[in-house]
Symmetry: none
Subunit: 216 residues, 4 copies
C-alpha cells in the first residue's frame, strides 16, 4: 500500500479521527473508518492510544488546546481593556473556534458534541479549559452590568449563559438554519458580522438590565 501521507501514523490517525468523530459522533464512528482514512492499520489505534476512547480523548484535548491557542478568548487584549472590547473578543474568538475552517473544521464540532452528549472525557475538559473561559465571561458580564454584580453571582452566571448560548446556537442548528434561511452564510468572512450582532445584542441587554428590572 502506497504511503501518500508522510507524517507519522499517530498524526494521521488524529487527523482522520477528527474528521470522522466530528461527523459521526463517538459511538457511530468506527475505528475501521478512521484507520482507512488515515491509511493505517486497525491495530495502530490501540497501539498509540490504547483504545477508541483513548483516541477520542486525545483528540478532544487537542481540539481545545489548538482552538484556544489559535483563537484565545482575549484575542490579544489586555486584561484591563474596556469590557465592551473584551466582550466582542470573547464572542468573536468563540465563533471562530466553533466555525473554524479547513484543517481544524472539526474542532468546534467535536467540542459541541462532547458538551451535548458528554463522555467520561468531559471532566478534564471542564477543569482545564471551560472553567477559565466561564470565569472570564462572567467577569465581562459583571463589569458590563455595572450594578455591583460580582462574577460569582447567579446574575452574572445567567448572563454568561445567555451570551454563550447565542454563540453556540448557529453552530448547533446549522441544518435547520440552512433550511429556514438558505441565504444565511456562516463562512469565515461572515463570522465577524455575526460576532458583532451577538456582542451588540448582549451589550444592550446587559446595559438595559443594569438600569431597571421588570417582571411579567
Amino acid at each position: 500500500m502506497e504511503r501518500v501521507d508522510t507524517r507519522d501514523t499517530k498524526s494521521r490517525l488524529m487527523e482522520a479521527a477528527g474528521r470522522v468523530f466530528s461527523e459521526k459522533g463517538f459511538k457511530t464512528a468506527t475505528v475501521r473508518d478512521i484507520c482507512r482514512l488515515a491509511g493505517a492499520n486497525v491495530a495502530a489505534v490501540h497501539y498509540h492510544f490504547g483504545d477508541k476512547a483513548g483516541l477520542y480523548k486525545a483528540l478532544l484535548d487537542e481540539a481545545f488546546e489548538l482552538g484556544l491557542k489559535r483563537y484565545p478568548p482575549a484575542m490579544g487584549l489586555a486584561d484591563d481593556a474596556p469590557a465592551e472590547k473584551r466582550l466582542f473578543a470573547f464572542v468573536h474568538s468563540f465563533l471562530l473556534r466553533m466555525l473554524g475552517d479547513g484543517r481544524d473544521a472539526w474542532c468546534g464540532k467535536l467540542m459541541a458534541m462532547e458538551l451535548n452528549e458528554p463522555t467520561p472525557a468531559l471532566d478534564h475538559l471542564v477543569e482545564r479549559y471551560i472553567t477559565p473561559m466561564s470565569r472570564r465571561l462572567r467577569r465581562i458580564a459583571a463589569d458590563l452590568l455595572a450594578d455591583g454584580t460580582k462574577p460569582d453571582d447567579d446574575r452574572a452566571f445567567l448572563c454568561a449563559m445567555s451570551i454563550a448560548g447565542q454563540c453556540q446556537h448557529i453552530f448547533r442548528n446549522r441544518a435547520v438554519i440552512d433550511k429556514l434561511s438558505p441565504d444565511f452564510k456562516t463562512d469565515v468572512e461572515d463570522v465577524e458580522s455575526l460576532a458583532r450582532h451577538i456582542a451588540e445584542f448582549s451589550l444592550c441587554a446587559l446595559r438595559g438590565m443594569s438600569h431597571a428590572k421588570r417582571g411579567y
Copy 2:
C-alpha cells in the same frame, strides 16, 4: 411474565423508545433495550414500524406534536397581545417543552438531538413545526425592535436566533453547567425564573438595539 401495562404493544413501544432514544441517541440506543423496557418482543418493532428508523421517525413526530400541544408557543395569548408578553410566553413554553418532566421528559431532548444531528426526518419537522415557530419569534423580535424592522429582515432573524440560542443553551450544556455550578437547578419549578431571565435579557437587548447601533 405478567403484563402490568395493558396498553397495546405499539403504545408501549413508543413510550419506551422515547425514553431510550432521548437518553442514548439514535445510534447508541438498541432495539433490544427499547423492547425490553416495553415488555415486547424484539420483532415487534419491525412489525409495527418497519425498522428502527421508522420507530424513531414516528417518535420524533409525536414528540413535536405533543410538545406543541401541551405547551403552545402562544401559551393562550391572543395574537395582538403585547409583544413583551408574547416574548415571555414563547420563551417559557420553549423551556417547558425542552425541560419538561415526567412522561414527556424525552420530548425536548429528542427534538434537540434531531436539530443537532439531523436525520432525513428533519425536512418534515422544519416544514411542519419549526417554520411557524421561527416566524412567530421573528415577529415578536420585529415588534420589540420598534424601528421598522420587518419579521423577514436579517436583523429580526439574527435576534430570533439570539433568543432561541439562549433557550437551548441550558438544555444542551446541562452536564457542563452541573459541573460549573452544581447548585444551579433546572427542575420544573425553576424553569419560570429562568424564562424570566431570558425574556428580560432579550427584551433589554431589543429595546437597546432599537435606539442606537455601535461598532467595534
Copy 3:
C-alpha cells in the same frame, strides 16, 4: 445451507462445544469453530448461552450430570455393601466416566481440564458434584482402614487422594503412556482390568496401613 442434523440448534451447539472445548481447552477453542461444527451461526451461541463462558459452564454442568447418571459412583450397590465392592465400583465408574467412548468421550476430558486449570465455573462443580464424591471415597477408605479412622480425618483424606490420583493418572498422561508403552490400551474393554488393578493396589495399601505404620 443444508441442515443435516435435525436436533435443535441448542443441542447441536452443546455437542459441538463438547468436542471442541475438550480438545482445545476453554481459551484456545473458538466460538467460530464450535458454530461451524454445529452448523449454526456465530450469534446463536450468544443467543442461547449469553457468551462463550456461559456455553462452557452449561457444558461442564451437563458433563458432570450426564457422567454421574451414566456411571454413578455406587454402580447400583447398596450403601451397606462390603467396602471392597464399593471401592471397586467407585474406581470403575470413575474410569468409565473419564475414558468414556462415543458421544460422551469429551465428558471426562472436560472434567479433567477444568480441575487442572479452573475457571470460575469450578465453585459450582465442587459444591454440587465433587464434594459428595469425595465424601463417599473418604468413607470407603475409612471403612477399609478399619482402625477407627473417620471419613473426616486427614488420614482418610490422604488415602482418598491416593485412590483418586491413580484413577486420574492414566487419563491425564495418555500421551506419555502411549509413548512409553505403545501396547498399553485404554479402550473401554480394558477399563475393567485397569479398575481391578487400582482397586487391588488400593485395597492392599489400606489393609496394610491399618496394621502398622513405619517411618523412613
Copy 4:
C-alpha cells in the same frame, strides 16, 4: 527505565516466561506479558527464540533439566540401596520438583501442563527425561513386589503408574483440594509428610499384592 536486573535479556526472558507460562498455559500466556515482566521489548522474544513456541520449548527443556538436577530421583542413594528407601526418595524428589518453591516454582507446573496437553516438544522430553524415570520406578516396584515380577512386566508398569499418579494428584487438583479441605497445605515443609504418606501407601500396596490376588 532503570535496568534493575543486570542479567542478559535472554535469561530474564526465560525467567519471566517460566512464571507466565506456568501460570496461564501456553495459549493464554501472551508474549507481551512475558516481555513486560522481563523488562524487555516485544521483539526480543522473536530475536532470541524465533517465536513464542520456541521460547516455550527452550523453557520446557530447562525446566526438566533444572528440576532433575536439583532433585534427582535417587536423591543421592546408591543404586543398591533398599527398595523402600529408593521408593521414598523417588516420591519425595518427585513432589519437590512439582511443588518446588521460589524461583523454580514453575518447573513442576510447566512439566505437568506439557504432560497433560502435549505439544510437539513432548517427544524429546519423553526420550530424554521421562523414560529413565519410568524405568527407575518400575524397577523399584518390581523389587518391592518380590514375586518375580520384572521391571518390564505389565504388572510393574501398572504399579509404577499407581505411584506416579498419587504424586501428580495433589499438584493437578490443587484448586479442588483447596476448596474441599482448606486447611490442607502443600507448602514445602509439608511435602515431606505427604511423601511419607504416598510411600507408605504404595509400599503397603506392593507388599500386599505380592502375597495374594483377589478378584471382584
